[in-house]
Amino acid sequence: MSERSIVSTITGLLYPFVVLFGVYIIVNGHDSPGGGFQGGAILAAMFIGRYIVDPTNDLAIGRAVLVEKAIFAAIVVIPAALVLSLAAQQTVWLREPYLIAMNLLIGFKVAIGLTILVFRYAFYEDS
């Protein structure tokens, strides 16, 4: 039993709920308060909270940066494609899936970006 066991147990119990809440805010963002940015920040808070409990550097930052760049490219390309195709603009049923997909992309991009930011600060910046 380490001295941090209270904090780590509570954080471990909270993980699934925090993830669920973050994903709910992302997915429901288009017609209720919330959205990609807020949900992504909640997901990032979970990753960073894990660092406070157990400060080991096991995040593959290089790969995370790559994923973030890919998501950013998707965020640029998908709306551009939608604007260019007239047929897609006139299909009504496409609007909701489009909003949800964009919110999901933005949410994951924000979560990964904030996590990278704090992990880089915690492990690689010299004071």
């Binding site: 919330g34 960073i48 704090v118």
Partner: protein, 197 residues
């Protein structure tokens, strides 16, 4: 009414966060401040902003500050008194002479940009030093105060001069411990790192 209460407590928390001497407390006050302000946004029918404020300011910024504090130079002080079953706040109340001594040590640390962290415990000296995480151990034995510090640390010398000048009536005695090899340094904190270099 709700509004006025929140506004007053926001002002109080802001002043507390600035005036607090211990950085960890300031971080906590700022977290409560952000939580209250996000409630205020909710009260003004702006739930979107409220969520963003609660997550960013109360969650992420607090975590970021705590991460930064981990890298800050922490000076750990332990105050033990074996004679009592429990150590109450009576020993660190500012009115007493011993409280003034602890206060003086705190000020000494703050002046050197160290973050003081004082722990009071009724454990024995052996138990405390075996844990080996403290830069300074103050032990009260009856009427006598003994201060155990690392002999290599020049801060202890400065502190000794200061305390003997101002607190000679308290029976303060300094004991130097040698290079303690069983020290556990979990994080890269400044005071022990400085001696090595």
């Amino acid at each position: 009414m709700v509004e006025a209460t929140i506004f007053v407590s926001l002002a109080v928390l802001a002043v507390l966060a600035i005036e607090s001497r211990v950085l960890r407390l300031s971080v906590i006050y700022l977290g409560i401040f952000s939580l209250l302000i996000s409630f205020l946004y909710l009260y003004y029918n702006a739930p979107d902003v409220a969520i963003a404020e609660a997550v960013m300011a109360s969650g992420l910024t607090t975590l970021l500050f705590l991460t930064a504090l981990k890298r800050y130079r922490v000076y750990r002080i332990c105050f033990t008194n074996e004679a009592f079953q429990t150590v109450t706040d009576r020993y660190i109340v500012e009115g007493t002479r011993r409280g003034a001594l602890l206060h003086e040590i705190e000020q000494f640390c703050i002046a050197r940009e160290l973050e003081p962290q004082i722990v009071c415990t009724p454990e024995s000296l052996d138990a405390v030093s075996r844990r080996g995480r403290y830069d300074l151990i103050i032990r009260q034995e009856g009427d006598e105060l003994r201060i155990y510090g690392d002999g290599q640390n020049y801060l202890v010398d400065e502190l000794e001069v200061l305390l003997i000048l101002h607190y000679h009536d308290l029976n303060v005695r300094f004991v130097r411990t040698g290079e303690s090899s069983d020290r556990v340094d979990e994080s890269a904190d400044g005071t022990t790192g400085e001696q090595a270099s």
